[in-house]
Symmetry: C2
Subunit: 308 residues, 2 copies
């Protein structure tokens, strides 16, 4: 579904209702619920469908379980939070698949220090894994998508395009396990998200649908535009290598390929030193007036990856 | 999956870990999280798969959405709680289905007074709806499955077998809309659950997989047995009518048919008057020593409905 379609669906459902306990509802990476004195609960849900979000022949249901955890935890990271509890639904074709899935979920939970606190199982020919993750921030309000202001700088963590490189490798019969792993087993940037929140980023989102799509969410939520620069985008070596083999443009992997799960964020220029000293961060542009649109080297940026 | 298989899966995943915030984890209708002074958060997740839990030709994705809400809210009701927030994942074949689903979810949310606080959408040929519901109890600890004691009485709300009657009607071409509705649009007994908790029931569960299966969960969790009486089981008129037409035993609809979403609970005999004065309640037997097993008129009770 294209982002607009998903937004329409969500707006149709709810109209952004809130109440005393629900401080942020639909429309950000997580909902925010008041939990205690300067403590905030984050809740997010993500569904992974076989052949859309994972492939049985690459890592099986074990990898699917681990990936499902990472994808969900990434939404918590995107608000500067730490994950606590996972609620998992799995629908798989048989008991062996269920066992594999359970192992993958457990590995994922251990990696991110979460507890699996609830679950439901069913059977279907096509595998489905849904996770709802509950996390928290303590001492600060979660970082929303909506805080970007004109003059802020735009940063990303890590390297982009690596997950799409993995997918293209699979699709093209390139058997490089390291590259394929970027697609089958992405990593959520929890520690990075917490550090960025503590240093004072103003808006943040995880890159699940490509930089081109996520920068749109940041700009839409903040009522601003963005100017980015092609030669600053940290394109991964994997993306360059696969794109080179397939005679494709690696920049498009970063812009329109999904599922890198790096973090995209904005911050005022006066904290640039603090931000870059965290390490593994690249400043790729700045927030501009809404009228200037969303550009790369002055040209309009393509929309990004869509699952539907 | 048979209940034993699901338990094994869940145990394999976790080993019932808890921490300071997570007071009850996997194994009950909901997880329980500390929320405030004498306030408890309940969290549960349930997945509905097309052709396993709902049929597109009966009410379409709209009915599927409403049913998904009821099924999830029922887990909150089973602990004496009230539902607050829904996190919904929907995977459907096209945009029209998504719109239908959204309407059903909204109707369900309105019926139970919840807010849809988060969501995710995807596309798949076979429809999938997953909901995670967050609810609460205020002023009392949630009612667990595990509190049954020898000498307690066993009660149920409403009438049983109606949902399975609806399913059998569909399968057999009986076109009685009222009966079919019991299957396509079950109702969660939230007010009833709260009243029962306030009066002081000792254990409670919702009847999602048939009385025969749920009484097993209560007995397993409490380390007790149960003696029930055939002529006391409140079998619904719908079940009697459909079973009569198809020359089947309506008692089996109640024992082994799933998805009635009534409440099964136990309580000490000295509060029987308070319990029955709530209305729409039948006392169907008593809790006995574990060694006496789970019986009906002295005979062993069949296992109940399984989805897998």
């Amino acid at each position: 579904m294209d982002p607009t379609g998903e937004l329409r669906f969500i707006e149709e459902m709810i109209g952004k209702k809130l109440n005393g306990d629900l401080l942020v509802g639909v429309g950000d990476d997580c909902a925010v619920i008041a939990w205690g004195a300067n403590r905030f609960m984050l809740v997010s849900t993500d569904i992974l469908i076989e052949n859309v979000h994972f492939l049985r022949e690459y890592g099986g249901f074990r990898a699917a379980g681990e990936k499902a955890v990472a994808v969900n935890v990434s939404d918590i990271a995107a608000m500067g939070g730490r994950p606590l509890f996972l609620f998992v639904s799995g629908s798989v074709p048989d008991e062996d698949s269920l066992r594999e899935l359970a192992h993958g979920l457990r590995s994922g939970a251990e990696r991110y220090g979460c507890i699996i606190a609830g679950g439901d199982t069913s059977r279907s020919d096509t595998g489905v894994v849904n996770i709802t993750v509950i996390g928290e921030t303590r001492g600060y309000f979660p970082v929303l998508r909506s805080g970007a202001e004109v003059g802020d700088l735009i940063g990303v963590t890590g390297e982009l395009g690596k997950s799409h490189a993995g997918l293209r490798a699979i699709q093209s019969g390139v058997t490089d396990e390291g590259i394929i792993r970027s697609y089958t087993l992405p990593v959520a940037r929890v520690d990075m998200g917490v550090k960025l929140a503590e240093v004072g980023v103003k808006s943040m989102i995880d890159i699940s649908d490509g930089l081109g799509s996520e920068i749109r969410h940041i700009c839409y939520a903040g009522g601003v535009g963005a100017a980015m620069y092609r030669d600053r985008i940290p394109i991964s070596q994997e993306a360059k290598r696969v794109a080179d083999m397939l005679n494709e443009d690696p920049l498009l992997y970063a812009l329109s390929g999904g599922e890198d799960y790096e973090l995209l964020f904005t911050f005022p220029p006066d904290i640039e030193d603090k931000i870059t000293s965290i390490g593994d961060i690249t400043v790729i542009g700045e927030i501009v007036d809404k009228d200037k649109g969303i550009t790369m080297d002055g040209e309009s940026v393509p929309q990004g990856f869509t699952h539907m």
